[in-house]
Amino acid sequence: MKTIIDTPNLSRRHFIISTVVAGGGLALGMSFGAGATEAQTAAADSEVNVWVVVKPDDTCVIRIARSEMGQGTLTGLAQLVAEELECDWSKVKTESITAGQNNSRKRAWGDMSTGGSRGIRGSEDYVRRGGAAARILLLQAAADEWKVPVVELTVSKGIITHAASSRSTSYGKVAAAAARLPAPDAKSIQLKNPRDWTIAGKPLKRLDTADKLDGSKVFAIDVKLPGMLNAAIKQCPVFGGKLTSYDEAKVLSRAGVRKVVKVNDSAVAVVADTWWHAKTALDALPIVWDEGLGATQSSATIAARLKEGLDAQEVYVSRNEGDAIKAIAGAAKKIEAVYSTPFLAHATMEPMNCTARLSAGRGEVWVATQNAEASLAALSEESGLPLDQCEVYKLDLGGGFGRRGGTQDFVRQAVSIARQFPDTPVKLIWSREEDMAHDFYRPISQAKMSAGLDENGKLVGLLVRVSGQSINAFFNPALTTDGRDERQLQGLYEKPGDGQLGYSAPNLRTEYAMRNTHVPVGPWRGVNTNQNGVYMECFIDEVARAAGTDPLEFRRALMGKYPKHLGVLNAVAEKAGWGKPLPPGVFRGIAQFMGYGSYSAAVAEVSVSPQGKVKVHRMVLAINCGHAVNPDQIAAQVEGSVAYGLSAALYGECSIEKGRVVEQNFHTYEIVRLNEMPKVETVIVPTYDFWGGVGEPTICVVSPAVMNAIAAATGKPVRSLPLKNVTLA
């Protein structure tokens, strides 16, 4: 028997997922909520504090509250805790806490939400303090045992030494005593200077790779429980439409089918012994939909609505410094351009899924979630059970990118279905078609950009008008009264810290015309920095061309007040060799933008064939994320941003016909594959005076750098995405 996910010893609750090798074949057997009790494990392992459990063999188990979806947060957080704990990195293991545990212990582990590139920057302080506090307790326990002042002790790699008496012990030996000591005074905790880091800040190997190589990792879609049933779901293809009727008699006699279930007003599910039986029965189920008003909508009607917003009189004005409209009107040279970007699906490799089991007084779900506490709340609301009778077993995500955060639609559906099968676990899996047809899409928008230059080619005014759908209006309308929504202007802010615009203009105005649609929208890796990065950075290139200035030099001249923005721009230009000769037919484009508290810049090297085919040869990206916790994983996120961003730039589009999404699988929603992946070089320039995000920041400079390189190659600016719709020949 081999344990592949072992998260016991949370002392309050317990769950084990194990694989059982039997009879030469590999059978997956899992048991949750069963097994050893607190009393049985307490003797073996010591919870020094909520973040650190030490085993007698000196293994340090570091608890992780945030979700791991490939972004490496699990390893990074463990590095930060281990750094302060002064333990032996080779003896570090991690375990995920559950939402129920966090709830029952008064949120001892804080926020579990993993989005907005906040996994590390949002918890680095308290997890490091947790590691430091555990170290203080372990040292104190040794000092007590030896009856020496704690200041006489030193520790390295989990070995505590008292030099004066030549004694040493290990964390495993003193952990039980340390666990009984009161928490140290918070004021006594001094965090290390990053200059002294030996575990954090290093390009250490991820802790979660091994079981991704041999098929043994259990994703939520792989969960198997005794007596489990499987469900396939179909939601009204038109957003906002309703379920009218279905003819279950037509499918009930099919193999394995147990029941046809109305899930909510707009969805129906077939429950069967296997998912394949459920899915094929669902395909055969006659369903009548009331498609509603949304069915009148199309990409064309939506585009017209957004276009109207570009010139509408009534608009939310965010920044208004000087008088941009007047300055541009009176400028020696005026530049204006309209840009557009489409709806995009997340298309995580693991389709949406959730397993739920409801019993008398107990609700449980097994789910890939970016926010286990939101999953817990959804389970509680949908089941009617109080929070303390609910539990969420979070499994590492087969991709998140923002899809598995706040909405929890898959949890609600699974619970709704499982309610019809008391005491029986039901696993709901969405087909890929369902996954693409019912996403919370990256919002569609257009932008009208205007600028004025004086006789010397100097920028005198800049006007940004974004017209498009609002994420806040969809999720939290209270945040968007009277068409105000700062979030849709992400990356253009005056305020430093999160998404500050890195350019000065004597007259500057930013506006947002909210134009919502019936299509659900939500955060998508990089969120609105993607669209706004395209608008601003492609337009700055157009303005630079109009001024007859090199785009790098033109930017530099506007960035005097923004040294960190300029820092990454300079770093990327140097690494890419900006201005140096390129092979014939290859052209460069540059971009810089800020999001998620980090500064990013990119240079793309691109060629365009006579037939108009784009080839991206090389991309160099620079990021200043403040603190670099694991440089190799930062590079991995930058590489991933290029792939995700390039898919969007080249192919990404969810178009709407008769109110529904046209692209429903990867043959129409194309993704960049290995043969199109450029060589990516990452330059990390951390200044260690702030904490920025890593997973999202760099994606917003990928598209504009490529688009600017295409414009350099063809002499014509690119103003809309995806490029597959743009004639470049």
């Binding site: 074949g25 190589l213 490799m349 590489e639």
Partner: protein, 178 residues
Amino acid sequence: MAKLNINGRVREIAVEADTPLLWVIREQVGLTGTKYGCGVAQCGACSVHFNGEVVRSCVIPVGGIKATDRIVTIEGLSTNASHPVQKAWAALDVPQCGYCQSGQIMAATALLKKKPRPTDADIDEAMTNICRCGTYQRIRAAVHMAAESAAGTATVSPGSPARVPARRAKSNAAKVKA
């Protein structure tokens, strides 16, 4: 009813003939390392070896498979993740979320069997699986690394891990014939 030789073991499975191999592997056999990603042979998450060739199991009905056909899944690729491809994947920290990596590894191992020293163009052509996390750059490097390490060890030890799946499959085929 289907008779399938999966990872060297022949199993009789009560299942409709039109059921895709992917779902039989996952639901009846219970090997979940092979993933569902699209159901239309686009993404490659369901890749397995079929008589030594990499195939997309989501579009292969089990009814057409013979007991003599050799199917190898990620779980049967090697013992203890000892295949040079798996080792290279670990050495370069290729996986991010990991969901597509079973399929990527099955595609890479099939490529190396055909072309022990693949060029970048060979890798471009053979490695067509989708990875949304964007691990492509490391996949390319890891394929090259695996090729080099396999070339380095094959001469020393003919029974190097790279050959385990092939030998195992062969012996099972013999068993079926007998």
